[in-house]
């Protein structure tokens, strides 16, 4: 697994100015993602309290918490990438040094970039379809179905930007290997 090598408390050191700029939105979105977790906690706690203390269950709380979780994923995905949290199997690639290590990092970042672009493109298509046909979500929270998908689209865009930043850093950053 990728360990913490080369990372400071705030994630791997980034030396390229372009990479830093591309990774900056991830940091901001990460803050919002952490706050989203607290919102989810507050919502579920409120739901329990309303059911037992006010005798007024909130039937929509479970559906809404799922939507908020999607928003947390959208907001946090790029930050987790920036901090190097995602698990990879490095039993072979972990032995690379110097130029080979740069190539490995660039390869991993490009894979994430393609992943994010594929999902971003597909999610955009789904949002456009849902918007054009004015589709609504099933379940207790009845909203136009493109609305809960929006944070996901934002997430894939941020992930693509962060991955691009890592590609730039892999090729043009100054790192000790």
């Amino acid at each position: 697994m990728h360990g913490d090598d080369g990372k400071d408390a705030d994630g791997p050191k980034i030396t390229s100015g372009v990479a830093r700029a591309l990774l900056a939105p991830a940091r901001l979105a990460g803050i919002a993602g952490a706050l989203m977790l607290l919102v989810i906690l507050a919502l579920i706690s409120w739901s329990v309290g309303a059911r037992y203390f006010a005798n007024r269950p909130l039937p929509w709380a479970d559906d809404l918490s799922g939507m908020l979780l999607v928003a947390m994923v959208g907001l946090g995905a790029a930050e987790a990438l920036r901090r190097g949290d995602h698990i990879a199997i490095d039993i072979l690639s972990g032995r690379a040094h110097g130029g080979l290590a740069r190539l490995r990092d660039a390869w991993a970042a490009m894979a994430v970039l393609v992943f994010a672009v594929v999902l971003g493109w597909s999610t955009y298509g789904q949002i456009k379809f849902a918007y054009d046909f004015e589709a609504y979500t099933p379940g207790e929270v009845e909203v136009q179905s493109w609305i809960p998908m929006l944070p996901m689209l934002l997430g894939w865009a941020l992930l693509a930007l962060a991955a691009l930043g890592q590609v730039v850093e892999a090729f043009w950053g100054e790192r000790d290997r």
Binding site: L37, Y52, G66, M72, V73, A80, I91, T123
Partner: protein, 428 residues
């Protein structure tokens, strides 16, 4: 042939060092482009897999453990275990297993258990001359109890993928978890008999035990609050996790008085990032599951197994052997999310209880945590002790044998896992 090609492609991408979620997603993209010529559906697939209220259980249990670790509530747990059993033969090892068992009922994570208990246990074990290799082994193995004793992140994931009852799985994990902890403790006693020279602290007296009990009572009450809420029908699983967070916050702020806004934000950040690691693998696995369903791969596996005429037992043994090998190379979450959708139709056809299988899977994933070359707990213990990895591996080796023995017992006697959920009204 198709199965071999799909897995060869996935394995090649995984071994190339890219994140697991990307390897799953790109393999799925390749399959879909070849089979359908379109990837238009993947966005909707991923969204529908993540848009589930029950998945909030994962970050909320992580958050509860983060709060308890940061407020140092956990530190008192090892003190209690140490005071209770530290004086008997192999007592420091048993204390570690006991502390891991209690913390496992709070954390839901093997790595968090090994990390938190290891940090408290290692200095004590060093102080009393407990052999380093034995100490490393018992912490690595004790930590794995985190995914067998409820609540358990991997169990939640398996329940979501297999559409099994989370409450039922949690209940099913209790007896096997305690059984495994007992095996570990007995081994500590046996191991202590083999060695000479190690000392044990004297019994501290019941007064000290009671004081340690008073200090750790808040941590000890966390599992009943969370699990009791589920089993008494007061909370759903996600509500129980939220209640656990509120409980942890309350004792951190009101009792320990060392938890402010800064700690709250840091815990939320760490939780979000840990959870994202899991949730993005779910996203990649959702794409992979969708793609292999399109090419009817699970159906192919079912037909293939039917032709082999393995039967329940043969199938379970073959699958457990396969997962044991996969566990040496793959991360546990990936194993659950890759193998379950493929094997589930066959399990259903063979009449295998998904709860029983889930527990067998969890024990196998525990093994994956301490088997090289990729064993998360081995790396965690190496990280906190700076011991050579080879020493950690050697220390954990006897526990691999113990867990395989436990797995064999669970295969031979499914009731050990299924009796409790069956008699508590938790079906599939």
């Amino acid at each position: 042939m198709t199965i071999a090609l799909v897995f060869a492609a996935l394995l090649a991408l995984l071994l190339s060092g890219m994140p697991i979620f990307a390897a799953l997603g790109l393999t799925a993209t390749g399959i879909l482009l070849i089979a359908e010529g379109s990837i238009a559906s993947v966005g909707e697939t991923v969204f529908s897999h993540l848009d589930k209220g029950i998945l909030t259980t994962i970050p909320l249990f992580v958050f509860m453990a983060q709060i308890m670790i940061r407020a140092k509530v956990i530190d008192d747990l090892y003190d209690l275990a140490h005071t209770l059993v530290g004086h008997i033969r192999g007592g420091l090892g048993i204390a570690t297993v006991l502390a891991c068992t209690i913390f496992a009922a709070i954390s839901g994570s093997s790595v968090a258990t090994a990390l938190s208990i290891g940090a408290s246990a290692i200095p004590q074990m060093k102080r009393f001359g407990y052999p380093e290799r034995d100490a490393l082994g018992v912490i690595a193995a004790g930590g794995t109890l985190g995914i067998l004793i409820p609540p358990s992140g991997p169990m939640i994931l398996y329940a979501v993928v297999a559409d099994a009852s989370i409450g039922g799985l949690f209940l099913a994990g209790i007896i096997p978890g305690l059984m495994m902890a007992l095996f570990f403790a007995v081994f500590c006693i046996v191991q202590a008999g083999w060695r000479q020279g190690a000392t044990a602290p004297p019994f501290a007296g019941w007064g000290t035990v009671m004081r340690a009990m008073r200090r750790s009572i808040w941590a000890l009450l966390a599992p009943p609050v969370v699990m009791g809420g589920i089993y008494l029908g007061i909370f759903t699983a996600s509500e129980a996790a939220a209640a656990g967070c509120i409980y942890a916050l309350a004792i951190a702020v009101l009792v320990y008085r060392n938890f402010g806004w800064r700690q709250l934000y840091e815990a939320a950040q760490a939780t979000m990032r840990t959870s994202l690691m899991v949730l993005l693998i779910i996203a990649g696995a959702a794409m992979f599951g969708h793609a292999i369903t399109i090419i009817r791969l699970p159906v192919g596996v079912t037909e293939w197994v039917s032709h082999l005429g393995l039967g329940q037992l043969g199938f379970i043994i073959a699958v457990m052997a396969l997962i044991f090998v996969l566990g040496m190379f793959l991360e546990s979450i990936a194993i659950i999310l890759i193998t379950t959708p493929i094997l589930l139709p066959t399990m259903i056809k063979l009449g295998i209880d998904p709860i029983w299988y889930g527990i067998l899977l969890m024990i196998n994933l525990e093994l994956a945590m301490i088997t090289p070359p990729v064993g998360m707990n081995l790396f965690v213990i190496k990280g906190i002790t700076e011991a050579p990895l080879s020493e950690v591996v050697k220390g954990a080796a006897p526990y691999v044998a113990i867990m395989l023995f436990g797995l064999a017992i669970l295969i031979a006697f499914p009731d050990i896992a299924t009796w409790l959920p069956r008699n508590s009204g938790f079906g599939r």
